[in-house]
Symmetry: C2
Subunit: 348 residues, 2 copies
């Protein structure tokens, strides 16, 4: 089966991001002239899978229906590692889940030379030991690992901090709005225009209805999602952050009165409240919570579900390098995964 001109792809996850990725992969595979042939040899959800002992190519144009009508169960993770490693062909695992179990297994894949691309935050924002294990296993296995979409979806956030650090710049501070959901909620709850902005709980219900929140909005409102993104960036900036719960994170799970007070206080000063994350490298302070901003501040005037991330560095001085745009959504998240896959393919 081995061929230098072929790369096997294994995919776990076929939800919102997963389906968009499959669509991007299909057109990508069709466009690759004079490049390695991409062969899908395994795909699974948490309940079903498609694969064969002969690593037969799974047709990309019908993969969603093939998967939904399959009667095969997913391989247990240690078996999946063996299955992929035994092919004799270079293999990339695309983890389009948010599963902690799969994240915990990354070292086993990487150590066997299987490269990984993923939007899954769990591997990089879990315990610091897992972070260390992952990068040690990557070196040991000579595998590649990209996870652009774990922070800011398709925005070039992870690649930017890596470029800054690897070229010898020093990141001094990172701050911004890291959650599309929170961005949308605060733009509605405390708009810069002054008018509008209903009750906090009503805005949450509206956001949920529009599909901007997790099925249980508390998963966004407890701040953990933002804390995970900050954990990842802080680690790349050189801080040994132990876990996403090892620094102060303000939860927004309904405390109606408190938020109305914050909003009113900010309005008195001609400001608005926003839910921001920040990393101060020198003082090793990482925090997530409500802050007040002038109406003219870029964070105040953020639109829709946009993220904004400002990198302050030694080279960039007082004016930060800023990345802004949609930080959530199936297509833009899948774009981050697809561009990572292209970076891996260029190196295989």
């Amino acid at each position: 089966m081995a061929s230098a001109r072929q790369v096997n792809i294994a995919i776990i996850g076929a939800g919102g991001v997963g389906k968009c990725f499959l669509s991007q992969l299909e057109s990508l595979a069709a466009r690759r002239q004079n490049k390695q042939k991409l062969v899908l040899t395994y795909i699974a959800t948490s309940k079903k899978a498609v694969y064969s002992d002969s690593y037969s190519p799974i047709a990309l144009d019908s993969v969603v229906s093939t998967l939904s009508s399959s009667s095969q169960a997913p391989l247990a993770l240690p078996k999946l590692v063996d299955y992929l490693a035994a092919s004799g062909t270079k293999t990339v695992l695309v983890d389009n889940t948010s599963s902690q179990d799969i994240a915990d297994a990354y070292p086993s894949f990487l150590r066997r030379g299987i490269s990984i691309v993923t939007p899954n935050k769990k591997a990089f924002s879990g315990s610091y030991k897992l972070w260390q294990d992952i990068f040690a296993a990557k070196e040991e296995g000579g595998a590649l690992l990209y996870h652009e979409a774990s922070c800011g979806a398709g925005l070039p956030v992870i690649s930017t901090i890596k470029d800054l650090v690897e070229t010898g710049d020093e990141v001094t501070k990172i701050e911004g709005v890291f959650s599309g959901t929170m961005s949308f909620l605060f733009n509605s709850f405390a708009p810069t225009s002054g008018s509008g902005g209903g009750k906090w709980s009503a805005e949450v219900a509206k956001a949920k209805e529009l599909g901007y929140t997790e099925p249980d909005p508390r998963d966004d409102l407890n701040g953990l999602d933002v804390a995970r993104k900050l954990t990842i960036l802080a680690r790349y900036a050189g801080l040994e952050v132990e876990s996403p719960t090892s620094f102060p994170v303000q939860s927004l799970i309904p405390k109606e009165l408190e938020w109305r007070r914050s909003k009113a206080e900010a309005a008195k000063e001609g400001k608005v409240v926003r839910f921001v994350g920040s990393i101060d490298v020198a003082s090793k302070q990482v925090k997530v919570g409500l802050e007040k901003f002038d109406l003219s501040h870029p964070i105040a005037s953020l639109k829709g579900s946009d993220n904004i991330i400002s990198f302050y560095t030694k080279r960039y001085g007082s004016n930060p390098l800023i990345i802004q745009g949609a930080g959530a959504g199936g297509d833009v998240t899948a774009m981050g995964v697809t561009s990572d896959l292209l970076k891996v393919l260029a190196q295989l």
Copy 2:
């Protein structure tokens, strides 16, 4: 001399960006554990060079003084191609000049398998034929080519448009402030605060004094520098732009009365004038010139010599992906070159 664990580096140019790059290269080479060894085998300015027929390593910690005390003349470009190709070792040419002659020779280097990283805009914004020759030669020679710093210095501009296009997104519009010099001038000439802002010619003289312009400010003011950056981006977005002079470019070479009138007109509407570039892909319109912006618009409130570039795409919808930050300066430009070099090394 050949070794899979060694990559030869050849450098042309040791000016502002060139010197910063040499400093970044020195620390990079020292940090590379378990990676290819980087060996400098050729360095030249327009007048002097250092190299040897045995490709002896040139010490990075003393390269600037070695070069200035050298009595060797630079190799003519065809000879340099032969010299580098004959080493039998993978080689990267770093072109830290803004020379059209060197840009014209890129196809000869690439066809012989020599990879190139550069901040030089000339190769990618010259004739469309040169653009086509370069990419054909790159394929033919199996060489790599990166030029992040040709637009927006170290900001991730070229990588972002390539990622968007390669993952199948459609870029519909690009607009922004593409010149650090122009940004500085307009922030002084027509500040959002209303106060300040002297005569245009006085602001130009001040900017020149502070080192924000080319030695002859007309090289910035004629708009050609911005037109070159737009040419590059428009080509990646799919437009066959013939040259940077094939679309409307407003020159700002002193027409004192005209700019004062533009400024006054904008002020009457509560706006400010800014020098912007835009690409409309559907109508194939590319243009560079003065436009009016509300004080709250991100383009109006740009600080210092910052650039801002907005990518409107099919996936990102009505809210663009925005990149902002210093778009000029030795260290940040060199950072773009160094991060490109790292991308090449990862693939060699």
